[in-house]
């Protein structure tokens, strides 16, 4: 999947839980879900569940713990999508 498309899908997901309009508008790969978007730990779980549904992938506990910013999320989504391609 094209990285720009992936980023825009991710932006749509986090928009529902973000509490910082400016940080959301200027979302980039360095955006931190907690520090920048002010998403709490409970809503971070919802972000991950929405990612699973949107991309039809399964996120394990280890990946969840690493998914703290946009670049980590993209990297995890891309690697899960690749795993599916290989199967």
């Amino acid at each position: 999947m094209d990285r720009q498309l992936l980023l825009s899908k991710l932006k749509t997901i986090v928009a529902s839980y973000s509490h910082d309009k400016d940080a959301l508008e200027y979302l980039s790969e360095t955006t931190d879900f907690t520090k920048d978007l002010k998403i709490n730990s409970a809503n971070l779980v919802d972000v991950v569940l929405d990612v699973e549904e949107e991309f039809d992938i399964e996120i394990d506990n280890l990946s969840m713990e690493r998914m703290l910013n946009v670049s980590a999320a993209i990297e995890i989504i891309e690697s899960k999508l690749k795993e599916i391609d290989r199967k």
């Binding site: 709490n40 730990s41 409970a42 809503n43 779980v45 919802d46 991950v48 569940l49």
Partner: protein
């Protein structure tokens, strides 16, 4: 973990314990009861001369039975699990009917999901006539430490 053990693990006591008894609990949901004593302090002020159970207290009662009891059960029954603490993170409740002093209510909760330590439940409270008093969704994080 049985129903009595769950109650003994609840971190509340009077005047903020809103669970009397659990009728049933399993990995998918829970059903329990609470009777609002006429002597509860908040009736003196909510409202002046017209005591009605505050919505926040109804929400708390649903959270204690539906979310906290279920969270303790799920963490205690997990492999090598210890009973966790449940930190409330969101509520969305609709209120249909008032609950007056002395009324006994039944709370039923169904697990929507329990993943990455977040427990999300649909909850419903009914009165003795079987009418729905309030219902909605409650969620919390189940942690090892209180206030973590």
């Amino acid at each position: 973990m049985n129903k009595e053990e769950i109650l003994s693990h609840l971190p509340y006591t009077k005047p903020f314990l809103f669970v009397d008894e659990l009728e049933h609990i399993d990995e998918n949901g829970v059903k329990g009861y609470y009777t609002f004593s006429k002597d509860l302090d908040f009736y003196k002020g909510h409202f002046k001369d017209h005591p009605v159970t505050p919505g926040v207290i109804l929400t708390e009662t649903m959270a204690q039975i539906g979310l906290v009891c279920l969270g303790i059960y799920l963490t205690a029954t997990a492999a090598a699990g210890v009973p966790g603490h449940v930190m409330l993170t969101s509520t969305a409740i609709d209120f249909m009917k008032p609950v007056f002093p002395g009324e006994k209510v039944t709370v039923t909760a169904e697990k929507v999901y329990f993943r990455f330590k977040k427990l999300n439940c649909t909850v419903q409270m009914t009165n003795e006539a079987g009418e729905v008093v309030c219902k909605g969704t409650i969620a919390g994080m189940v942690t090892n430490k209180m206030n973590a």
